[in-house]
Amino acid sequence: MAVLDLRRKLAILSDAAKYDASCASSGTSRRDSRGGKGVGSSGPGMGICHAYAPDGRCISLLKILLTNYCIYDCAYCVNRVSSNVPRARFTVQEVVDLTLNFYKRNYIEGLFLSSGIIRSGDYTMEEMVRVVRALRLDRDFRGYIHLKLIPEASPALTAEAALYADRVSINIELPRDDSLARLAPDKDVAGIRRTMGEVRLGIDERSEKGRRVRAPRFAPAGQSTQMIVGADEAADGEILARSETLYGAYRLRRVYYSAFSPIPDATARLPLQRPPMMREHRLYQADWLLRFYGFSRDELIGRAENLDLAIDPKLAWALRHRDRFPVDVNRADREMLLRTPGLGVRTVDRLLAMRRQRRLRLEDVRRLCGGVGKVTPFIVAADWSPLALADAEHPVAPEPRQLSLF
């Protein structure tokens, strides 16, 4: 086999890693390099995105695979065994050096390491743990590390991974267990859930109060997962129901939705199409409504339904519940303000602080929201009532659009 130079390997193994949407580097334990011998710092607050690619995604971590050789045959994946993409494999030392060299030049916040499955789950996980062990123990690296867990690996390796990594994740991949069995026949959904459960127990144990001896460090930035949208027939309602279950059962920090995107060298089993980006966007919006706005899934969408692509899910909810509007910004409670289209969590909290001073006018809301076009039909302010809009043309209807001629 031809020996690939490092740059060629980097091209292959970052190209292979780009279908993983996660790149967060936030919300971990506070630490820095003072008093140590290496480099690196991180903290509980906002992460840092060092660059943005033209796909609008941030580049915060060096996101690479240890290898893109894989014994699995998942139809949606560019690295499946039956694909003809070029293959490469980093050595442990190469990943360690690359991470540190990029880090010292301030290109990245840390490493996001994943891998194709080679030989066995345990072998692969062991190789990945070797990388992070070297970074943490030999080089005293204190930046951020996100490690992909291999569900088939033993619990001891999972625990060691969580000892060194800030965040761990296992991708649930598809919203339906049946489609996972069909499209990714080698993956074991029960194993994925069991490992997520292990991680949750490890985190719970670590955060238990009143222990005399604290449990070892365990993934301080929690765990996340990713679901591919549009590779099977699952409706948005089903996808969100699955997310809701995952948040509830395993205390995930995030569920990432990844629009199924064309890959080079696709399989006939899964025809390619343009990625459903708007659908992905609506799912994220609905996910946020579930986590931060007090909505429950069945309020937003039935199990078999799809989210409206033309309007956002909060607006859709408001249009279905016109009896609850308009909302008086000077009197309504926080719960109802959060449910008002155009008002975000921060705006609501600021409104609440401001209205202790005086009665709010439309102009005040405009300054807080940076534009009120969206919110006017739904609110009453000291000098504003949307009554005049009642006879107007549908104030929130989407722009008319020319249908395709073909």
């Binding site: 390099s33 660059a51 609008g56 459960g197 995107s261 401001m354």
Partner: protein, 481 residues
Amino acid sequence: MRVAQLSSETDFDGWRRAARRLRLEGVPPDQALWRVGAGDLFALAEGEMGACAHAAGAFTVPPAFPALAADVVCHRSADRFSRLYNVLWRLKDEPRLLEDRADPDVADALRMAGEVRRASHKMKAFVRFRLLEGVAPETYVAWFEPPHHVLERTAQHFVKRFANLRFSILTPDLCCHWDGAELAFTPGARKEDAPAADPLERDWLTYYASIFNPARLKVAAMQSEMPKRYWRNLPEAALIPALIEAAQERAENMVASEPTQPRKRAPSRTTVALIEAAPSPGDAPGSLEEIAAGVQACRRCDLWRGATQGVPGEGPAHAPLMLVGEQPGDMEDVAGHPFVGPAGQLLDRALAEAGIDRGKVFVTNAVKHFKHELRGKRRLHKTPDAGEITACRWWLDNERRLVRPRVIVALGGSAALAVFGRAMPIMKSRGQAMPLEDGAKGVVTVHPSYLLRVPDAAAKAAAYRDFVRDLTAVAELLRFK
């Protein structure tokens, strides 16, 4: 007209001293002039403030104000000092002014503070260091052009991050240098003072180009987070136009190209292993291990869909006592073992008080998967229905057949239904030994999670005593063969 002289563009302390004195002297905002830099001609103008000002009296400002002012002072706009003084002046009569974010003066100050914080955050992101070649110890230098005066407030971030390296950040206004022990500042520099290249940048560009997914082009989203003003000092930004240009064609080619012929290969080992390990439905399991494996693959009812895993019974293979609960709870579902959650801990305590060694008990559940509904982010227990209990009874019957306990205790109604095959009045029949078809003795009592739910403390203690009494009766049963 009064002139206040500040020593530098970011002289917050100087502004603070002068502003305090001006307000105490009752100088209105339109009578105060703010200048940066010492020794210019106009500094001698009438009304200049002496350096050793002794302000008589004091006043208070809301705690948010000094923080806001410290941010705004770093803004690049020329009138930031007078705007701030204007807000300070107004605070005299309107002490809660800052809470009114819609007030134009406050809104402006908040906007400026926000821009400064954003510039500081972006500096943490967009500084690009280059290695000084041939210098030991390892030293890095960056050239950066921040839109506001944020170097001083941001330098500490880099010190914490690279405490064990040497580095300099050069900007047109000010430079900072870290030698491993001290942070020093020097006047502004030129771009040529920083190294022109770094060999590793080629790798970084390779990474940047490869991690980009051409099928998801979203240029506006990129630019809102990485404004063009930063591009000239970002090596990767040079790639952007070419990447955008080629993106559509690359994406269309991927969609249009025919699926390729896969490489010849044997079915992967895992597939084979999974097929072989799959349990054949219907056959009665021959061992507890087979039950444990079978429960994982069980599709007798739909409860497996929402659960993490099936939770089989655990304990000695021929335990004389079998405890049957209702179903695994939130903790049991995640851990894969029965009775490890709060109810399990209560059960352990009660067993110990009744003189029963938990290590010699086989504990299991009537239903092997966790039935629940979501309430917010919590999974709340939901009682299994008769259909689910009946479906899962097959596993319990097999556990009973293999373990052959002398006494079986059903904890709660669902367990009683599964053990006796009919609904039992728990409170009426609790604690009594009743013969079962397989020759064992059956006893019913309450489920320990019931004890957790009794609201009143006294009633809770009483219920717990009754529970221990039932278990003590069971211990008696075990003693007499």
